[in-house]
């Protein structure tokens, strides 16, 4: 079973992610902001990280950069959540090392298919 760490400061989005991903048969863990996510990284040891961009304390770019700069999880697939298909955000996320992106509001099937494209299943 794939383990997913979902990082978003919005409780609503966290619950939606949890719900959708659980229904798809994934093991889901959540974190409330970038720092929280990094703190949970070792314990959760996810196969995929899904992270929001705009968060307090540490944003999504910070998460990506920290993960990519680390040794153990440097190649971890990371999906970023963007609110609208803002091309500049996608591009910037990719430059900082994001594997892919999901546009909110996300479609359940698309989210799952995005995960399947970047992780073993």
């Amino acid at each position: 079973m794939l383990t997913i760490l979902a990082i978003d400061d919005s409780r609503t989005i966290r619950e939606m992610l949890r719900e959708t991903l659980r229904n798809a048969g994934f093991d889901v863990h959540v974190a409330v902001d970038g720092l929280d996510g990094l703190e949970k990284l070792e314990a959760v040891a996810p196969d995929v990280i899904i992270t929001d961009i705009n968060m307090p304390r540490m944003d999504g770019f910070g998460v990506i950069e920290a993960v990519r700069a680390g040794s153990t999880h440097a190649a971890l697939p990371i999906l970023v959540l963007t609110t609208e298909s803002a091309p500049d955000l996608k591009e910037r996320a990719r430059k900082s090392g994001a594997t892919g992106w999901i546009v909110k509001p996300f479609d359940d099937a698309k989210l799952v298919s995005a995960i399947k494209r970047i992780a073993a299943h």
Binding site: D9, S10, R11, T12, I13, E15, M16, E19, V32, D33, N54, M55, P56, R57, D59, F61, R68, A75, L76, P77, I78, T83, E84, S85, A86, P87, D88, L89, K90, E91, R92, R94, K95, G97, A98, T99, G100, W101, K104, P105, F106, S113, A114, K116, R117, I118, A119, A120, H121
Partner: protein
């Protein structure tokens, strides 16, 4: 499982919190905009709040909300990136936008049309704030036509992005499959992509054959360990469209060379060097995307105290309110059970000094402590309520065309959650009244030598086991001659009634009374102060009004801290056990016969420190026996009503003083004037809890005035 409804609920709950954060942030911005010291973290927090609201709203398809939040967010984003300076004028528009956003959220939640029509105007104002070049049009998808990436872009990754142009795709005859040639760049791997996963996803679309072309692999000694040298030739037999195939490579578009051609064609067409599907990145100030726009001139980096951090790290759990209520109920039962047990022990002749007695005593202390702590879970600060009222003031003052300084005090005071929820409507009404009727127009104020801006103060404070909430304005005060005349006109009081000032003021609480000479937008909503009063009474509260002509009016609401228990004096009344709330009792006394006097029309009074206080015989009031002639053998409980009047409740005997669990009667019996609720005593018997204030109203002395005041029970 109805998870989507649950999540929807979560969303609206979260919105409340986000609106609170938004209000906090905007108020901080408003203060800072005056002296020009804007903290970037504040702007970020405000932006995030609106952003999160928009994100959630989009998930539920709440279009109006999304559209407005988007415009709001765009303006905030401009401020975040230093393109927009937070002037007081702009912050005011933000505050109004936050109000409108709150209105939209409420209307979305209740599935009704928004009450405010400020939307289009605010949309326009917000749109004007954004520099034209930086504007992202709301709800408009990225331009479908791709623009070539600047050369520098490609150089960053050291490759030339190649994709197929979809415009050239053949008409939708179902293809039998595709030939795909795929070569990854280093960056593709660095970003955590893995061709294997993409190939597996491709295999999900049909039958996939893969062939690895490793001809580009250099000799080991020349190999860059992180380099990418492998090329794959894939053959996919599928009925899916090229679009579906391309979607698999969505994330790596630009990070690989990709050639897709339909199977069955003679030879694969030479890879077209086409612009990436991805629109070119719009060149923006890179700092605008980061949390700390250090480069911005208008915004100074904050002093490193992330405001949102404290709240997030408090270490709290979210508990279903129902669970808390169940806990409170169980603890209530526990307290009753303890009392029953204590009674049994006493009946069995076991002294309080025994081990059992001592143990029971400890049990009682623990039960009480447990109860207090469980109650505390339900307590919430009045701050969100006060913030909501600030919105009401802004809205009301806008409509009334008055300038109002709104001040709050005691935001941190905590009250039971239900009390707070049920205070919203009455308080809204009171505040609207203050703005609409209480405060004069700027011209009238200046003529009276007052500052043009009116002032409304909303405060909360703990006072002797209750919470006191006051709304005071510095307006003209109650127009007593007018109030009196209206009461006469409406037949509420006889034309010759002799009323004190305080009594005139209280006339506005009578049903059917309204001083509004015309029905205005604000107060004319069909409810009067009588509804406000009964709403507060149903919370075990009291409302009082005091007014000084020319100086202003103060509405005081006194509320119990909790709706579940109260400290009561257990008394005997003609063989019945009754409970009088301790908070109402000022003192108890055993009068000498010489202190009791009969006053014509007012019944018996007792002299307390040279003041005459009317006696209310509880036994008589509740119909247990005719009026007692000999009060000197009885105990008098001196109580003070919300209107600062004193009464002496006559009872036969004081039993005990203890905490009792309130059991509501209203759902079963309706409201009985003079009876607040009931409780279960240690011996399992039921005792009525007296509402001294209402009892006093019931048993008003038969002075000739104001029969209406006596029949106003609601």
């Amino acid at each position: 499982m109805n998870s989507s409804i649950d999540i929807r609920q979560t969303f609206f709950q979260e919105c409340e919190e986000l609106l609170e954060a938004l209000d906090d942030g905007l108020n901080a911005l408003a203060a800072a905009s005056e002296d020009g010291t804007i903290d970037s973290e504040t702007v970020n927090a405000v932006f995030r709040a609106v952003h999160s609201i928009k994100g959630g709203a989009a998930a539920f398809g709440l279009e109006m909300l999304v559209r407005f939040a988007h415009q709001f967010e765009t303006a905030l984003d401009a401020m975040r990136s230093g393109k927009l300076v937070a002037t007081p004028e702009i912050v005011r528009v933000f505050l109004r936008s936050a109000d409108y956003l709150a209105d939209l959220i409420t209307s979305a939640r209740d599935e009704v049309a928004p009450t405010s029509s400020a939307g289009p105007d605010l949309m326009e104002r917000l749109a004007q704030m954004v520099p034209a070049n930086g504007a992202r049009m709301p709800a408009q998808p990225a331009p479908p036509v791709a623009t070539p990436a600047p050369a520098a872009e490609a150089d960053d990754f050291g490759f030339q992005p190649i994709t197929l142009s979809f415009d050239a795709a053949p008409e939708p005859t179902a293809p039998t499959g595709f030939a795909i040639r795929f070569a990854a760049t280093k960056q593709l791997y660095r970003n955590g992509n893995d061709p294997v996963h993409m190939f597996r996803a491709l295999a999900d679309l049909g039958t996939l054959k893969t062939r690895l072309d490793s001809s580009a692999l250099p000799p080991l000694d020349q190999m860059d360990w992180a380099g990418s040298y492998l090329v794959w030739d894939l053959t996919l037999h599928t009925t899916e469209s090229q679009q579906a195939v391309h979607e698999i490579f969505e994330f790596v578009d630009g990070l690989c060379t990709l050639e897709i051609s339909e199977l069955g064609q003679e030879t694969a067409p030479p890879a077209e060097v086409a612009p990436p599907v991805e629109p070119a990145p719009i060149v923006t100030d890179a700092t605008s995307l980061k949390n700390g726009p250090a480069a911005s001139a208008a915004i100074r980096p904050g002093p490193g105290k992330p405001a949102t951090q404290a709240a997030g790290q408090k270490g709290s759990v979210r508990v279903d309110l129902e669970l808390v209520d169940r806990l409170i109920n169980i603890v209530g039962e526990l307290v009753i059970n303890q009392a029953v047990l204590a009674q049994c022990v006493q009946d069995a002749g076991i002294g309080t000094q025994s081990d059992v007695g001592a143990g029971l005593d400890e049990f009682r202390n623990l039960a009480r402590e447990l109860q207090e702590n469980v109650m505390a879970i339900r307590a919430q600060s009045v701050k969100p309520l006060f913030q909501r009222m600030a919105r009401i003031v802004r809205e009301a003052s806008d409509i009334a065309g008055k300038t109002v300084d709104f001040v709050t005090e005691g935001d941190a005071v905590e009250v039971d959650k239900t009390v707070i929820e049920r205070l919203v409507d009455p308080l809204t009404h009171i505040i609207r009244n203050s703005v609409d009727h209480g405060l004069e127009t700027a011209a009238a104020r200046q003529a009276a030598g007052k500052p043009a801006a009116g002032r409304i103060c909303l405060s909360a404070a703990h006072r002797s086991g209750r919470v006191l909430i006051e709304v005071s304005d510095d307006g003209a005060g109650i127009n007593r001659p007018k109030v009196r005349q209206m009461a006469i006109d409406k037949g509420l009081i006889p034309a010759d009634a002799v009323l004190t000032d305080a009594e005139i003021d209280k006339l506005i609480f009578l049903p059917g009374f309204s001083t509004a000479s015309k029905v205005t937008d604000l107060s004319g909503r069909g409810v009067g102060m009588d509804v406000v009063r009964s709403a507060i009474q149903s919370l075990g509260g009291r409302v009082n009004i005091s007014s000084t002509p020319g100086k202003g009016t103060t509405m005081s609401i006194s509320l119990p801290l909790t709706l579940a228990v109260l400290d009561g004096m257990v008394v005997d009344v003609a063989g019945q056990t009754m409970v009088v709330p301790i908070t109402a009792i000022i003192e108890t006394l055993r009068p000498a016969a010489s202190d009791i006097h009969a006053v014509a029309g007012a019944g018996k009074v007792v002299a307390v420190r040279e003041k005459f206080v009317p006696i209310i015989d509880l036994a008589e009031t509740f119909g247990h026996r005719p009026s007692s002639q000999d009060y000197s053998s009885m105990v008098l409980l001196l109580v003070e009503s919300g209107q600062n009047e004193r009464w002496a409740l006559a009872v036969d005997r004081i039993h005990d003083q203890r905490q009792v669990v309130i059991k509501g009667l209203e759902s079963n019996y309706g409201h009985v004037p003079g009876v607040a609720a009931a409780t279960i005593l240690g011996d399992g018997k039921i005792a009525l809890i007296i509402d001294p204030d209402e009892t006093a109203q019931r048993k008003r002395p038969q002075a000739g005035f104001a029969p209406a005041l006596m029949t106003e029970e609601v």
